[in-house]
């Protein structure tokens, strides 16, 4: 059976629309994948701009770069933009571009839904950031300023910016659910003949688990946000104690979504690891089955550990013990993944091209993020570290050191495939080392600040924290500036400069996507390949 299923409501005979209309109406998975990734890159730069504002404010004690109100708005937008605007879309972009290529499908299963899912994102981003722009020209009192966790009762009392954020969450949630449903249907229904689930590339597996998690937990955030909206405008009291509600309920709803969200961000890049490491170690992937089972174990555990974010909310001892042990239990399947990655490169003939450097950086930095997570999972130690800069450093190691490093590794790995041009290896290496150095200067110092007792989310600090904050801010400026190298490398390859890439791109790269020309034609696998 090698016949094609090419008709997905798309007729070439009509002549395709050009220019903007092409991108607005496209149902092609590669186009939509590229749109997702460009959107993610834009949001990454915007979120990075907010991050630089934060570090600019904190470079000196008693600094007046931002007002306290503006500072609160900036940290909130930084978090929301980076998580929902940058990381989730960019990993969804990888999924859209790569999953059909990796499983030998002609396109995603539901191409029109795919288009709709993407085009919900720009309105969501506009709704989220619009109050910030309006404030700059003197309209309204600014965007959401509650921190990205939007804790009640603060978010119940907050200004209209909170409503904008709630509507952005509705749009983002609808978009994510559409993308997830589409990916699951594609993986289940459109695999090349002969490809069983346990023969799928690990990136495909990782996105299958991500989709399952999204379908399970994003609705809880939508429900919680709907309750928040009702509390704010329709006189309900889900989260207000005066009417018999409970502010802690919001924390439960939020973290029931929020903790699995960490793995939603992580999984796709864990999958990317298992493509890059074998290529540059010139060895087959180590422990395929163990990695798949680890994904399952992590996904299952991730939905039952949420309250470790709430140890200081006055939880009884029994609850603290349960959430402490279940959280620590997650490190077992995560440890299996780490050992599989290390097993893959063990005694391999390693070469250190840019994707490999970022992949190795991912293992180191995400490793530090994971191990400091164990410190925070200790319910007793958490009483001190919670809401200190130790926590800030921890989740930046976990989310920048993990997903963002992994995404950048994936960009360098598949960019030649997508554009047909090699990036500049020299600039790529510069990008890696400046990122690695800048990142560690920025966030390693924040571990020390946190242990010394510097609280997060406050635009000023005591004098004894001044030297390390100066170090951290300088590191952040270096880290931010070095990302321009990534932008340049992408733009250069996309504009058609650089060495042409071969079909295989990398010596010995495995996977169906490397059997196609670089860049792949608009329509691929119209005749599905047979996998044996």
């Amino acid at each position: 059976m090698s016949s094609a299923i090419t008709d997905f409501g798309h007729h070439d005979a009509h002549g395709e629309p050009r220019g903007l209309l092409r991108w607005l109406t496209t149902t092609n998975h590669k186009d939509i994948g590229i749109l997702y990734m460009l959107f993610g890159l834009t949001m990454f730069l915007l979120g990075g701009f907010f991050a630089e504002l934060i570090r600019g404010q904190l470079i000196h004690p008693a600094n007046h770069l931002l007002t306290p109100e503006l500072y609160n708005q900036v940290i909130t937008l930084h978090g929301l933009v980076m998580v929902f605007g940058a990381l989730m879309p960019v990993t969804a972009g990888f999924a859209n571009y790569l999953v059909p290529l990796m499983i030998g499908a002609p396109d995603m299963a539901l191409p029109r839904l795919n288009n709709w899912g993407f085009w919900l994102l720009p309105p969501a981003a506009i709704v989220l950031v619009l109050p910030f722009v309006l404030k700059l020209i003197g309209i309204g009192n600014g965007p959401v300023d509650t921190g990205w966790t939007m804790y009640a009762p603060l978010s119940v009392q907050g200004g209209p910016g909170v409503d904008f954020a709630i509507f952005a969450i509705f749009l983002l949630g609808a978009s994510s659910l559409m993308a997830s449903i589409n990916i699951v249907v594609t993986i289940f229904n459109l695999r090349a003949p002969g490809m069983t689930l346990m023969q799928m590339p690990l990136f495909v597996w990782s996105w299958l688990m991500t989709s399952f998690l999204l379908i399970a937990v994003f609705p809880a955030l939508i429900a919680g946000s709907a309750m928040l909206l009702a509390d704010r405008h329709f006189g309900t009291h889900f989260f207000s104690a005066a009417g018999g509600g409970d502010p802690v309920l919001w924390e439960h709803l939020f973290w029931f979504f929020g903790h699995p969200e960490v793995y939603i961000l992580l999984f796709p890049t864990a999958g990317i690891m298992s493509h890059i490491l074998p290529t540059f170690a010139r060895k087959p992937v180590f422990g395929y089955r163990a990695q798949v089972y680890s994904y399952w174990a992590i996904a299952a555990l991730s939905v039952v550990v949420w309250a470790h974010h709430m140890f200081t909310s006055g939880m009884p001892v029994a609850g603290q013990l349960y959430f402490m042990y279940s959280t620590m239990l997650i490190s077992v399947p995560l440890g299996v993944l780490f050992f599989c990655w290390m097993g893959t490169i063990w005694q391999g003939a390693l070469s250190f091209e840019t994707p490999m450097l970022f992949a190795l950086g991912y293992i180191v930095l995400f490793g530090i993020g994971g191990l400091t997570g164990l410190v925070l999972a200790d319910a007793v130690a958490d009483q001190q570290y919670h809401n200190s800069f130790f926590l800030v450093a921890h989740f930046h190691y976990a989310l920048f050191g993990g997903p963002i490093m992994g995404v950048i590794a994936g960009v360098y790995y598949w960019l030649p495939k997508m554009t047909g041009r090699m990036y500049s290896e020299r600039l790529g290496k510069w990008h890696f080392w400046l990122t690695m150095i800048g990142f560690n200067i920025t966030f390693m110092s924040q571990f020390f600040l946190g242990v010394a007792g510097m609280p997060r989310r406050i635009p000023d600090y005591a004098l004894q924290f001044a030297p390390l904050n100066m170090v951290s801010s300088l590191g952040a400026f270096l880290l931010g500036a070095s990302q321009l190298l990534l932008v340049y490398n992408i733009a250069r390859a996309a504009a058609g400069y650089g060495k042409p890439a071969t079909n295989e791109v990398w010596d010995g790269a495995q996977g169906l996507e490397f059997t196609l020309p670089s860049p792949p034609p608009h329509h691929t696998f119209e005749e599905q390949p047979v996998v044996t």
């Binding site: 299963a109 449903i181 379908i215 399970a216 009884p316």
Partner: protein, 195 residues
């Protein structure tokens, strides 16, 4: 393969895709319902376990008589939330009682504002392990309290501490927070969920 059988396969494929997509949509809607369902779920979970300081209730005298061998200290505290111009404090700050012994306490509320203001007291008990063992027979916190300007009201609470209070607990702190009642809360009547 002929055009006809190709078209037929495309249609079966599309139908299968649509079926799975709708199944997943229903799963997502189920989880949306679950998200809302968490509200009553958490509430009854806290009621049963006494987590979150949710206290027990009793309509009758305690069973099993008074345990004279133990004495428990019950402390009363108060907070007035912003927006309510009340003075609100316990008449007795500390009571020493035996488990199983019904006791009375009272809070004094004065409206210091120039207009009639409604307030509603919400209670919590710590340590949390004691919450289910603190049984209210009558409490002013069951109802909203309307106070005219400068009006003073002595508000009673009748309660007992059940005999099965864990041995290691010797002090129970009962905290009341007076919240301003807005129009919307007033429309909904008394606060049912806290009972």
């Amino acid at each position: 393969m002929s055009e006809a059988s190709r078209a037929a396969r495309i249609m079966t494929q599309r139908a299968a895709n649509r079926r799975l997509a709708f199944a997943l949509l229903f799963v997502a809607l189920g989880f949306l319902g679950f998200g809302f369902g968490l509200v009553p779920l958490y509430n009854s979970f806290c009621q049963i376990t006494g987590l979150n300081g949710k206290t027990g209730e009793a309509t009758a005298r305690p069973a099993g008589g008074v345990d004279l061998s133990r004495t428990v200290t019950v402390e009363f505290t108060s907070t007035v939330m912003p927006g309510l111009p009340w003075r609100f404090e316990p008449m007795v700050r500390r009571l020493r009682i035996h488990p199983g012994e019904p006791a009375n306490a009272a809070y004094l509320a004065v409206n210091l504002g120039g207009t009639r203001r409604d307030g509603q007291a919400i209670m919590s008990v710590s340590p949390e392990q004691a919450a289910t063992h603190f049984k209210k027979i009558e409490c002013f916190c069951y109802h909203k309290q309307a106070l005219d300007p400068q009006q003073t009201r002595l508000m009673p609470i009748v309660f007992f501490v059940s005999r099965d209070l864990p041995q290691e607990i010797s002090t129970i702190t009962v905290s009341y927070s007076a919240f301003p009642v807005t129009e919307e809360v007033a429309l909904r009547g008394e606060n049912r969920r806290e009972r």
